[in-house]
């Protein structure tokens, strides 16, 4: 007889979803760093090697240190997620694990490659010369892209399941892993997330230098700070318009493939043409309150004509409607709003650069850059809320309900509290640790010393 009683599903479902959302939301930021920070450091090293630019090389070294610490933490939070897949959603894994699992197996190879080459890259600062060292960083960047693809493809599959048939008892047969991974949603979800990762890291890194310049005006003329701001900011600013285009394609894809999700976050109640696009507002049971409505724009965006018929919630069975329309709607608007704000920031930089061949080192520009980092993170998290909450009540769109996937194990609320405490500590220590790395005077002297993957300092520093 069990001493720990099984708990009712409804109670477990919410706890499991919160736990998954929290740990995934935490990990995704570190995943962005793993995917995109190596590219930034390679850009800096490239500049450094080509122009014999010591400052650029110094930046690359500093960033590789930060990458090492954050990669180690991300590896841990990622491992936790692979446990959670089974611990929280055993019935999902039982039924569909063989359909999408290949994606994670492929991700394993990329992750391995990334882990190995990040170590080689950091070790290599002292042991591999010149351009050869730069090339040891290239596999890290490629593995980051590949890893992002294979994981996001699995999420896309949950939105657009394919690559199998169902037998009489509802279990998948005739599995085609490639078809599962290359589902219609992958086409827009993967580039959307990849670009998001580069934007989070680009704006995030730039914002650190912007904050430093705001705090001490002398740093505004320090070449290392200027370069540290400009390299990532330029990359992110160049990618922002591309991201807005991809996001637009993605929204149309969702309107086609997951009309319930689309109607949920756009707050469309009745199916028909001439749909109003609502900016902000609260979605009640039958209308949007306090929002700014632009008549016909929603139909226009979906089908390039106000005559486009958009499916409303009236067509969705009650028990298949996504929950929390207001949350979805505001999350979507937040993401799009921040996207356009970042586009404006990029435009500001481009305009100024065009006129003066410099970036505007004014207080207001630096303030905007300082905010852009947190903004990019918020936009990305909001996007994940839209796609994940928007898919509910399904874990696999149309095929399996989340409530049927959840574990019967007890004590999840307790675990949730523990996880929040543990991760809060982890985040705090990570920040302290990164600040210490940043404050070291001469990173060039002993790169890699005292780092994960790196050789330890010859003399313990105490």
């Amino acid at each position: 007889m069990s001493l720990i009683p099984s708990v009712p599903v409804a109670d477990n479902l919410l706890a499991a979803r919160e736990l998954m959302a929290f740990t995934l939301g935490f990990h995704i930021i570190l995943a962005c760093v793993g995917v995109a920070l190596p590219a930034m450091m390679l850009v800096a090293e490239f500049k450094g090697r080509r122009n014999d630019d010591e400052v650029a090389l110094d930046l690359a070294k500093r960033w590789s240190k930060a990458a090492a610490v954050l990669f180690a933490v991300g590896a841990v939070t990622g491992t936790v997620l692979s446990f959670e897949m089974g611990l929280l959603w055993p019935h999902f894994m039982e039924r569909f694990g063989d359909v999408f699992g290949t994606g994670f197996a492929i991700e394993g190879i990329f992750f391995f490659t990334e882990a190995i080459f990040i170590a080689i890259y950091i070790y290599g600062w002292k042991r591999i010369d010149g351009w050869k060292h730069w090339w040891t960083g290239v596999p890290i960047v490629i593995a980051g892209v590949g890893g992002a693809f294979s994981v996001v493809a699995v999420n896309s599959w949950m939105n657009q399941p394919q690559g199998f048939a169902l037998d009489g008892s509802g279990n998948p047969t005739g599995v085609s892993p490639l078809s599962a991974l290359f589902n219609p949603a992958t086409v827009y979800e993967f580039p959307h997330m990849l670009l998001a990762a580069y934007m989070v890291v680009g704006f995030g890194l730039a914002s650190i230098y912007a904050i430093a310049m705001l705090r001490s005006p002398a740093k505004r003329n320090d070449r290392r700070h200027r370069l540290g701001l400009l390299i990532p900011l330029t990359v992110a600013a160049l990618l922002t318009p591309v991201q807005i285009f991809v996001g637009d394609v993605a929204a149309r894809g969702v309107a086609d493939h997951q009309p319930a999700k689309f109607a949920g976050f756009e707050c469309i109640y009745e199916t028909g043409p001439d749909q109003t696009e609502w900016l902000g507002g609260i979605c009640t049971d039958d209308e949007v309150k306090w929002g700014i409505g632009i008549p016909g724009l929603d139909s226009m965006l979906v089908g390039f004509s106000t005559d486009t018929v958009v499916t409303g919630l009236d067509q969705i069975p009650d028990d298949e409607e996504p929950p929390a329309h207001t949350l979805l709607h505001l999350a979507f608007d937040t993401m799009v709003g921040i996207g356009f704000a970042l586009l404006a920031l990029g435009g500001w930089l481009a305009f100024y650069w065009w006129r003066k061949r410099d970036f505007p080192a004014t207080k207001w520009f630096l303030r905007a850059v300082a905010l852009s980092g947190i903004g990019a993170v918020v936009a990305m998290e909001a996007g994940w809320i839209v796609t994940e909450v928007g898919r509910q009540p399904w874990i696999v769109q149309g095929l399996m309900r989340t409530e049927d996937a959840v574990t019967s194990a007890g004590g999840l609320w307790f675990v949730l509290v523990g996880a929040i405490a543990l991760y809060a500590g982890l985040g705090a220590i990570a920040v302290v640790s990164l600040r210490r790395i940043a404050s070291r005077r001469e990173p060039g002297a002993d790169v890699g010393a005292g780092l994960p993957y790196g050789p330890p300092a010859k003399e313990p520093d105490r």
Binding site: M1, M93, D98, V99, G101, I120, Y123, P139, V415, D461
Partner: protein
Amino acid sequence: MSKPDVVAAILVAGATLYAIFGGADFGAGVWELLAARTPDRSLRQRIEQRVALSLGPVWEANHVWLIFTLVVLWTGFPDAFAPIMETLYVPLALAAVGIVLRGSGFAFGHSLGDVGAQRAHVVFSVSSLITPFFLGCVVGAIAAGDVEAGGSGDALGWIGPLPILVGVLFVASCAYIAAVFLLDDCRRAGDEELSEYFLRRSIAAAVIVGALAAVGLIVLRADARGIFDGLFDEGLPFVIASVVFGLVTLVGLVRGWSRALRPLAIGAVVALVAGWAVAQFPYLLPDTLTVADGAGDGGALTALIVVFIVALVTVVPSLALLFRLAQRQALE
């Protein structure tokens, strides 16, 4: 060999690699923990230094094998993965906590400096003990038949003689492998004093592992008769090989061999895991689910086999490069 059998072999290969490389990593943490009370401060620092030198660069790569094993399990054998997760969530969650703490201890162990680094070290070494113990409990509980196909089982069923014993055996094996690896590194680096230190510990660990394995057989006979019988039937060659490897390693330790020690210790572990796997075969979950019945769809199995081959082709050369760089560093 059928397709599910091939995937089962890949699963065992992944678990074996994790046992060796992850094991050496956990074991190093265990030795740090045991050295923590040494009054000789400089000795303690040298041990920490040695562990960092030997493990630093390969740390992450060592632990990817766990993720790999999990993924192969859920893709290849989803019907076994789900009940394992739903039944043994307590030790699994505790192992996951151990992994989080250990990884953070590792990540921040050197970048925090002074007091922070000290604390990170303590966290690292304590969780090095916890994690393999609970992973061992999971393996022991599966062997004891606590996990049933299609069931969610008894959440506390893993608290029994066999799981606990396997947990302790896992910790001891990790310590043994780590001691041999570290000893080898010390000898190559010409550090006589530390060599002597790890020599004594390698021998002690070898004896303890042997004793635990012997006790394990008695418990196994009582709690997992099928596997016990299997070990003395199809598994016998592996059991003998493991004992021989173990004894030869012991001889090598005493006689001061260097180069052969690592392969010998690895051989003992490989033979042990393989023997266990052969003894448990054809069961994934003893007595309720076989490899053939628990296998996922054929298309997924084929994909896994292909991915495994690609992994070998791409990962092994880069891993070799990394190990070489690390070894060179360890000698500096």
